[in-house]
C-alpha cells in the first residue's frame, strides 16, 4: 500500500491523510456512495462524514471519536506488551485469536499474515478524544459479539455519540472476514436498502421533480 496522503513515509501519515485518500476515491465515483468502514477506518469515516454527504455510513466495530478507555484497559490486561509497544509507536500486532472467533485456524492465519503496517499517528488518533460535528448522513453502528479488541462499552459509546444504537452481529473483530460474514453482509445490505431511498443522491431533489419548462 502506498502511504496515505502522498506521504513517502507511512510513519508520517496522519488520519487527515487517510481522509484525503478516501475523498480522492469518492470524487471519482458517479454519485455519493455508502461508506462502510471497519475499526480504525471508522475514525476516518467519522471525520469524512462530518464533511462529506455520503448516502449513508456503516461503522463496524467502531472506534468512538471520544476515545477508547474500555478498549485500552481490556487490551492492557490481555496483551500488555503489544499494547505498550503500540503506544510507543509500533504497529499493533494481532493474532488470529484477536480478530476471528469462527474460522479454521489456517484460514485465519492466512488473513493475519496479510495485515500491513499502520501509521503511529493514526493509531494515536484512536487514543486522543476529539469532538466531532454531526454526521451528514444516516449511520449504522455494528458491534461484533465476540470482539476481543474493541470493548462493547466503546461500541455503545460510539453509537450514543452518533445518536443511535449499535446492532450486534455474530463474529470476532474482523466481522467482514469471520465465519459469519455472509450474515453480517445481509444485515448491512438490508439496512442500506431500508435507509437509502431510490432516486437522486441529495434528499431535496427527491422532494420535488426537476423543473420542466415549456416557454410558450
Amino acid at each position: 500500500m502506498a502511504a496515505p496522503g502522498g506521504q513517502n513515509d507511512l510513519r508520517r501519515a496522519t488520519l487527515r491523510d487517510y481522509v484525503h485518500d478516501v475523498l480522492q476515491v469518492i470524487t471519482t465515483l458517479p454519485q455519493p456512495p455508502v461508506v462502510i468502514a471497519h475499526s480504525l477506518g471508522t475514525l476516518v469515516a467519522q471525520r469524512l462524514l462530518q464533511r462529506y454527504p455520503a448516502r449513508a455510513g456503516v461503522l463496524m466495530t467502531p472506534i468512538p471519536a471520544g476515545g477508547i478507555p474500555g478498549t485500552v484497559v481490556q487490551g492492557m490486561r490481555r496483551k500488555p506488551v503489544d499494547f505498550t509497544k503500540a503506544v510507543l509507536g509500533a504497529t499493533l500486532r494481532f493474532s488470529a485469536d484477536d480478530l476471528f472467533s469462527d474460522l479454521p485456524p489456517e484460514v485465519a492465519r492466512g488473513y493475519v499474515s496479510r495485515i500491513g503496517r499502520e501509521s503511529p499517528w493514526a493509531q494515536y488518533a484512536m487514543l486522543r478524544p476529539e469532538r466531532l460535528g454531526p454526521l451528514l448522513c444516516p449511520v449504522l453502528v455494528v458491534g461484533a459479539e465476540d470482539d476481543r479488541l474493541v470493548a462493547a462499552a466503546d461500541v455503545e459509546r460510539c453509537a450514543r455519540a452518533l445518536g443511535t444504537q449499535p446492532l450486534w452481529v455474530p463474529g470476532g473483530h474482523d466481522v467482514m472476514l469471520d465465519g459469519s460474514w455472509p450474515d453480517v453482509l445481509d444485515t448491512i445490505l438490508d439496512w442500506v436498502d431500508a435507509t437509502c431511498p431510490p432516486g437522486p443522491p441529495l434528499s431535496g431533489a427527491r422532494e420535488l421533480p426537476p423543473l420542466e419548462v415549456t416557454v410558450e
Binding site: 502522498g6 484525503h20 475523498l23 480522492q24 470524487t27 471519482t28 465515483l29 458517479p30 454519485q31 455519493p32 464533511r51 462529506y52 454527504p53 451528514l136 437522486p200 443522491p201 441529495l202 434528499s203 431535496g204 431533489a205 422532494e207 420535488l208 426537476p210 423543473l211 419548462v213 415549456t214 416557454v215 410558450e216
Partner: protein, 439 residues
C-alpha cells in the same frame, strides 16, 4: 404561472450557484437552478457569455484553498490548475451530486419580484417569458463579468482599437501590435505579461504601485505560506513584515525596476499574484506608466507628461456587480452601487432573498462558496421549519450589517474593494452564523 411549492430558485450555475444548489438539496430543500449559458461553470466556462477567463488562465489561488472542501480536486492536478481543469472539476462536482438535472440552461432570469411572502421569478428563453413562483431566491449571478468601462478625455478621438478585458480571450489579439494595458488587477497583469511575450511594444498604466507577489515561495504556493502564518496566529504587523522581507529578498524593491512604489501597506489591496510581470519590466518588454491623463488619435498621454503611441488599448479596469432583475430597489440597500448586506449575503428586507458570491477573498473562493451555500441552506431550512426563530436571527444579523471582514487591514476605497474580505475572518463569521442557526 408554474408554482414550485417549498422550492428555492438559484440564479447562476457558476461555482457559487452550484454550491448553493447542492447545499439546499443536501439539507432537504428542493431547488431549481437557472443559467443563461448553455453549460455550467460561469466564469470558468471558457467562451460562455459571462466567462472572463482567457486561453492561458490558471488559478491565482492554489488548489487546497480554492476547492470545495467536500469535493477536493484530483491529486493529479497541479498546484495552480488551468481553466480547463477547473471546468472539468465543476462538471465532476455537478455530476456527482446530481446537480445538472436541476438546472435549466439557456434561460435568463429577467425579473424577480416579491409577492405575498413568496417570489415571482420570470425567466426568458428565445425571447419568450414564463413566470414561476418560489419560496426563496438565491442570487449567484457573479460579479466578475459586467465590464466597468472608464472614461477619459479624448478617448473618442483615439484611432486604434479599444478592448475591455472582458473580451480578451487569448494572445492572438495582441500579436504584433503596440499595446497599452490599463489596470493592475490580476487580469491586467496577466495581459501585460502576454503582451510582453507577443506584442511589439507594451505599456502598463497603473493607478498606484502594487505588491507583485510570487506564486511560489520556499517551494510552496505562496498562499499556503500565508495561511501557515495565520494558523500560527502571527499578528498582522508581523505578517506584513514577513511578506515585505520575502518580497525584498527575492525580487528587491519594485521602484528599482521603474515601477511605482506601493503607496499602501500589505493586505490593503487585493493581492496580485504575478511572478512574471516584474521579470518583463526588468527586460524592458513592459514599460510601466502612471495614470492615463488623456487620449489622442495616436495613443495616450500619461499624468507625468509622457506618451505612448499604440494600436490597441486593453482596459483591465474590472467588473461591476449588477442585479437588473430585482424589481425592489430596497431589496439590497445598494446606495452608491454597493449592497450592504449582513455577511455580504442577506437581503436586509427579505429573509428569503440571499446572495452568494458577492465576495472577493484574499484567497481561493470556492471553499467560501461552499460555506456560503451551507449557511444559506441552513437559514432557509430554519425559515421553513421555524419562521419566528428565523425572523429573530435575521433581525440580529441585520443589526450588524455594516460589519466588514478585513482581517484588521484598511482596504483602499475603490469599487475594486467593495467586496474584499479576509478569508479567515469571513469563514469564522460564517461558522458563527451556522452555530446560531443550529442553536
Amino acid at each position: 404561472m408554474i408554482d414550485r411549492p417549498g422550492c428555492v430558485a438559484v440564479i447562476g450555475a457558476g461555482p457559487h450557484g452550484l454550491s448553493a444548489l447542492k447545499a439546499l438539496l443536501q439539507v432537504g430543500i428542493p431547488a431549481d437552478g437557472f443559467d443563461r449559458a448553455d453549460d455550467l461553470g460561469g466564469n470558468w466556462n471558457f467562451g460562455g457569455p459571462t466567462s472572463r477567463v482567457y486561453e492561458s488562465t490558471h488559478l491565482i489561488s492554489s488548489k487546497p484553498f480554492t476547492q470545495f472542501p467536500d469535493f477536493p480536486m484530483p491529486d493529479s492536478y497541479p498546484d495552480y490548475p488551468s481553466h480547463r481543469q477547473v471546468k472539468a472539476y465543476f462538471d465532476a462536482y455537478a455530476a456527482h451530486f446530481g446537480l445538472r438535472e436541476r438546472i435549466t440552461f439557456n434561460t435568463s432570469v429577467v425579473r424577480v419580484e416579491a409577492v405575498d411572502q413568496r417570489w415571482d421569478v420570470t425567466i426568458e428563453r428565445d425571447g419568450r417569458q414564463q413566470t414561476l413562483r418560489y419560496d426563496g431566491v438565491v442570487v449567484a449571478n457573479g460579479h466578475n463579468w459586467f465590464p466597468k468601462m472608464p472614461t477619459y478625455p479624448g478617448l473618442d478621438d483615439f484611432g486604434g482599437e479599444i478592448l475591455h478585458s472582458a473580451d480578451y480571450k487569448g494572445a492572438d489579439q495582441l500579436r504584433d501590435r503596440r499595446v497599452l494595458v490599463v489596470g493592475a488587477g490580476n487580469t491586467g497583469c496577466d495581459i501585460a505579461v502576454e503582451a510582453a511575450q507577443n506584442a511589439t511594444a507594451t505599456y502598463h498604466s497603473t493607478r498606484r504601485g502594487y505588491y507583485y507577489n510570487p506564486k511560489f515561495v520556499f517551494g510552496k504556493p505562496s498562499d499556503q505560506i500565508a495561511d501557515q502564518l495565520l494558523a500560527m496566529r502571527i499578528p498582522l504587523p508581523l505578517r506584513r513584515a514577513a511578506f515585505g522581507a520575502t518580497l525584498r529578498t527575492t525580487m528587491g524593491k519594485f521602484e528599482k525596476f521603474g515601477l511605482q512604489k506601493p503607496d499602501h501597506a500589505f493586505f490593503e489591496t487585493h493581492p496580485i499574484v504575478n511572478q512574471q510581470l516584474v521579470y518583463y519590466v526588468g527586460h524592458g518588454d513592459i514599460t510601466p506608466k502612471p495614470d492615463v491623463d488623456h487620449f489622442d488619435a495616436d495613443g495616450a498621454v500619461f499624468s507625468d507628461g509622457s506618451r505612448a503611441d499604440v494600436d490597441l488599448v486593453v482596459f483591465a479596469t474590472g467588473y461591476l456587480a449588477v442585479f437588473p432583475f430585482l424589481t425592489d430597489p430596497d431589496a439590497l440597500d445598494a446606495a452608491g452601487g454597493r449592497p450592504r448586506l449582513a455577511l455580504q449575503m442577506a437581503s436586509p428586507k427579505y429573509p428569503t432573498l440571499w446572495l452568494s458570491g458577492l465576495i472577493q477573498p484574499d484567497s481561493g473562493q470556492w471553499t467560501i462558496a461552499h460555506w456560503q451555500g451551507m449557511a444559506i441552506a441552513a437559514f432557509l431550512r430554519l425559515q421553513r421549519d421555524d419562521p419566528a426563530a428565523a425572523a429573530r436571527l435575521h433581525g440580529h444579523i441585520n443589526a450588524h450589517r455594516q460589519q466588514r471582514f478585513t482581517g484588521g487591514a484598511h482596504y483602499k476605497e475603490s469599487t475594486r474593494h467593495f467586496y474584499e474580505i479576509a478569508h479567515q475572518d469571513y469563514l469564522q463569521a460564517l461558522q458563527d452564523f451556522l452555530g446560531e442557526v443550529a442553536a
